[in-house]
């Protein structure tokens, strides 16, 4: 299996990617702190670092669905933001071949005062499409969203579910080579979720590479071809989703058990 994969094209390669955050509170202290005691600030500069991602390497192959699994704060979203090109790694390298559509959050840049159509145009262009491309896809997006005549109403008249539907409809129609999905599948009603899964299956068949961040084990197991488990910014396991999920589950069960016995002994 590994040998077969070696012949496939790598569309996303991470090499020893490390992300360090400085905590910027010294800047937020403002000009005053800087004027009063610049040395104090310089000391903070050296000390307040936080390692969000540490030497993570993996490759994602063309057409594959790759899952990233981990607990809250494990560094999943930081990793995804770096792949999306929003954040830059402190060390290491990320190479991307093809157009990436970052679905880090649905409806980024939605403006409540503007209509659905106006928001589709803005959002689509911000996601990397040309204006004429998104205009051509407008009918398809409107029909997928199922918003009907609401599409010409200002967004502030929408329910939150309707806004999510519109956001997803746009994101999924931008036809990326690589789609990055961050937990967004957990939203919407059952019917709309079903529609999303169908659409993701369509994209998979169409050969779109998907990188999916989730803490829903079921989603990872059913959708992904491979998965990686990240904890405290490091890779714990990388392999088939079944393997990774099994290891993750047993580890979490172990963790919960130790926590229980620890609290019981107190």
């Amino acid at each position: 299996m590994e040998a077969g994969r070696a012949r496939m094209r790598q569309v996303l390669v991470l090499e020893k990617v490390t992300k360090e955050f400085r905590t910027y509170h010294h800047y937020h202290a403002g000009l005053k702190a800087f004027v009063v005691d610049p040395r104090q600030i310089m000391r903070h500069r050296e000390r307040d670092r936080f390692l969000a991602i540490s030497e993570v390497s993996f490759a994602v192959y063309s057409g594959e669905t790759f899952g990233i699994l981990g607990r809250n704060g494990a560094g999943k979203s930081t990793l995804l933001s770096m792949i999306a090109g929003v954040l830059r790694p402190t060390f290491g390298k990320i190479s991307v071949h093809g157009r990436i559509s970052p679905l880090l959050e649905l409806g980024v840049g939605f403006t409540q005062e503007l209509t659905g159509v106006e928001n589709v145009l803005i959002n689509g262009v911000l996601l990397g499409l040309r204006k004429k491309e998104i205009e051509a896809k407008l009918p398809e997006i409107i029909s997928f969203s199922g918003l009907g005549s609401f599409i010409d109403q200002p967004l502030k008249t929408y329910s939150s579910g309707m806004q999510i539907r519109l956001g997803f409809a746009i994101a999924i129609h931008v036809q990326p080579d690589i789609l990055l999905v961050d937990e967004v599948l957990a939203v919407g009603d059952a019917e709309f979720q079903e529609k999303c899964f169908t659409r993701i299956a369509d994209l998979q068949r169409a050969g779109v590479t998907i990188v999916l961040v989730s803490h829903n084990l079921n989603t990872v197991e059913t959708l992904c071809d491979r998965a990686v488990w990240i904890d405290k910014g490091r890779i714990v396991t990388l392999g088939s989703p079944q393997e990774v999920v099994a290891r993750y589950q047993s580890e979490i069960a172990h963790l919960v058990a130790t926590q229980k016995s620890a609290s019981a002994s107190v």
Binding site: H28, G30, A84, V86, P102, V108, L114, I122, L126, R130
Partner: protein, 257 residues
């Protein structure tokens, strides 16, 4: 021609952000875009009473005189005034989408430029009524040059302020104070010729003066003032500062805002 691979896409980003801003500014108001005129007109009325009637400043056509520089000043100060919060108020976009953040600045400056352009016909009407004299061919040359120059200068300042304010939040307050000071140091309420010799350096040290002097010379007297050259110089110089500052900081913005 490809200037850089995403040039056309970035232009589309600017255009959607711009049309959003234009649509939003007066949405829901009864008078709409007329509000762009209301502010400087009311201000001019007050200044007319204060300076012409009370202080008895001896300038012919004083309201028109003020407006010829106040309209472009309004553009400048609106853009510069909202610059410092530009990246911070757009943090949702910056944190989640990889796009050229300069597009936000361009959209901001062009939006205020459009609102300035609306004042030109109004000014022309006033000019014809009060002076029996309309625009000349010089306007066709002067207006585009000054529009481009002021766009570039304002853009440079906006980019620097927006970037630095992501690092040092004090800047927003500072900018307000400085803008207020600059308004009185720039010949808007008075003419450049009224400035005493020993203070003339102030006119040149301040990047806004040459622009305002040039606008007034063009709009009031149909003159292409030599100050245009100084204004272009200021614009180029500020871009030379702004571009490297922005290039070095752009990728960090997503962490800062």
């Amino acid at each position: 021609m490809m200037i850089y691979p995403n040039f056309y896409q970035t232009w589309d980003v600017i255009s959607v952000l711009l049309s959003k801003e234009v649509k939003l500014r007066y949405r829901g108001t009864a008078l709409g875009i007329l509000w762009s005129l209301a502010n400087p007109l009311a201000f001019t009325a007050v200044l007319y009473i204060a300076f012409r009637r009370v202080l008895q400043v001896n300038i012919e056509n004083y309201p028109l005189f003020i407006l010829s520089a106040l309209f472009p000043w309004q553009w400048l100060s609106n853009s510069v005034g909202s610059a410092s919060m530009l990246f911070i108020s757009n943090s949702a976009l910056i944190k989640r989408l990889p796009f050229n953040k300069a597009a936000l600045a361009v959209a901001l400056v062009l939006n205020d430029m459009i609102h300035f352009c609306i004042t030109i016909p109004l000014f022309t009407v006033f000019l014809v009524i009060s002076r029996d004299r309309g625009p000349s061919l010089n306007w066709l040359v002067g207006i585009p040059i000054l529009l481009v120059t002021q766009t570039l200068l304002t853009l440079a300042i906006v980019i620097v302020l927006a970037t630095l304010n992501a690092l040092l939040r004090d800047l927003d307050q500072l900018v307000r104070v400085v803008l207020l000071l600059l308004f009185y140091v720039t010949p808007v309420l008075y003419s450049a010729s009224m400035v005493p010799k020993n203070l003339e350096w102030l006119l040149f040290a301040n990047p806004f003066s040459p622009l305002m002097i040039s606008w007034r010379a063009l709009m009031m007297d149909n003159d292409l003032s030599p100050y245009i050259v100084v204004a272009v110089g200021h614009a180029c110089l500020s871009l030379l500062i702004a571009i490297p500052v922005f290039r070095r900081t752009e990728w960090k913005l997503a962490e800062l805002v």
